[in-house]
Symmetry: C2
């Protein structure tokens, strides 16, 4: 039996993905919100849904798919409920605080493996779930010296069953990288959207450029409040790197130095081509 705790976009999509893959495990979806349980049930994502964590007591694998602050807050209860020898994993987009909390809370009783499927979309909630959400996407696992190899293998197999490709990273290194490729773009998209919204009629001349660049700005603030502040040090560092490049470019514009502007934009274009080659 696999218990998925948190029936939002990711948790419900996991149920759907494992179902579609024909995974031979009983799937139990847990969420205190009756609306989320009903939506997930209606999509046929789980064999059964339940309100409380006690329903995870019989699970060999517990997947924590709640927002990061909720996952951190339930560590004690998960440790109390989890069966001895169970494997507990999570899907939070910040890893170091979660890994440290759970390695401590579960101690020798159950095994913890930090995880982060790099999948998502702007729409949130069970209703937006889809079986293909993880197809071809990286699913990062963050083993530490304390991680049990068998547990790591089991979680990797489940990630692959959902269609993802597994990548191993140190938790701190994960947090540093996502601060640059995920958290920083969110900050920039929000700030761009707020700047463009500051004048009347901006949308009259808005094109695909603004739409692409600000797509992330549609993400729900509740989730990001958690994620960004849990990864504050790395995010502030990433913002500093961004601001240096941004200031150099604005400076070249202010000096009306078209050659310098061209060189900076071309350096960005070269980096963009390398990105396109790998993802």
């Amino acid at each position: 039996m696999i218990a998925v705790v948190g029936l939002g976009l990711i948790g419900t999509s996991l149920g759907l993905a494992w179902r579609r893959a024909g995974l031979d495990r009983r799937l139990v979806g847990i969420d205190p919100d009756p609306g989320a349980r009903q939506a997930a049930s209606g999509m046929g994502a789980f064999d059964e849904t339940a309100e409380g964590l006690d329903a995870a007591a019989g699970a060999q694998v517990v997947v924590l798919a709640a927002p990061p602050s909720a996952v951190l807050a339930m560590a004690g209860e998960v440790a109390r409920v989890a069966a001895p020898g169970a494997v507990v994993t999570d899907v939070c987009s910040v890893k170091a605080p979660v890994v440290h909390r759970y390695e401590e809370a579960l101690a020798a009783r159950a095994f913890f493996v930090g995880g982060h499927p790099m999948a998502g979309k702007a729409a949130a909630g069970a209703a937006a779930a889809e079986a293909g959400l993880f197809s071809g996407r990286p699913w990062i696992l963050t083993p530490t010296p304390a991680t049990d190899p068998g547990a790591l293998h089991q979680v990797g197999e489940l990630a692959r069953a959902a269609g993802a490709r597994v990548v191993h990273l140190d938790p701190d290194e994960h947090d540093r990288r996502v601060s640059l490729v995920s958290h920083l773009p969110q900050l920039a998209a929000t700030a761009l959207m707020l700047a463009a919204a500051g004048i009347d009629g901006a949308e009259q001349v808005a094109g695909p450029g603004l739409r692409d660049t600000t797509r992330l700005a549609a993400s729900p603030g509740a989730l990001w409040g958690d994620v960004l502040t849990l990864n504050a040090d790395a995010v502030v560092e990433a913002a500093r790197a961004f601001s240096q490049h941004f200031a150099a470019l604005v400076d070249a514009v202010a000096r009306r130095d078209a050659g310098a502007v061209r060189r900076i934009i071309d350096a960005g274009a070269a980096a963009r081509r390398r990105l396109e080659e790998v993802c």
Copy 2:
């Protein structure tokens, strides 16, 4: 006869769009680069191509589709070549400097109407041209008190024939708005890409968020060097507005104030929804 000067993405797409619309006008494409002429000819975008501006002498309408600095540099020659009473228009993404230069250069001899079709894509050059590039996109015309109403009407009809919807804006107001919805996103996309490229392995964890947000960073530096420096005052102002929102968000993250982060992200999400409603 319509002469299109500059057979890049926009100029060649214009030929294709007017052809597809069955426009009953002889189309002449002008470009000093034989490769561009050959590509445009090969796509059947024009009745005839030519190397030099003299070929525009018999045109009732001359469309300047070269990069902004080239358009500014050729004002004297266009004024010399243009037939008396001809309508001259351009497609530059910065309007005030072009409009002022051409109104002065053409004086009473020919009519000038500033234009900016809000269409494009990351790929440049005639080979990337497509007949549908302008379909449903805004085509901004920037009349001034000196603009001839008949010439304005003619250019508007041509824009509509290419599939665009015509919007009228004051040249300075245009430049201010595009600084926010187009030039600023370019700066941010380039700075994001350069920041993310600063660490090894960033692309290993990169997802659709980074891809969307940095799509503009693939744009060619040569064009942007021109555009950004010609619109320097407005761009610097837009960058200042962005930096204030960005700094407030980073500040809330650094203070680990999840509530403040949530409120700022939610304000951005609300603005993003308004954008989605109108474009």
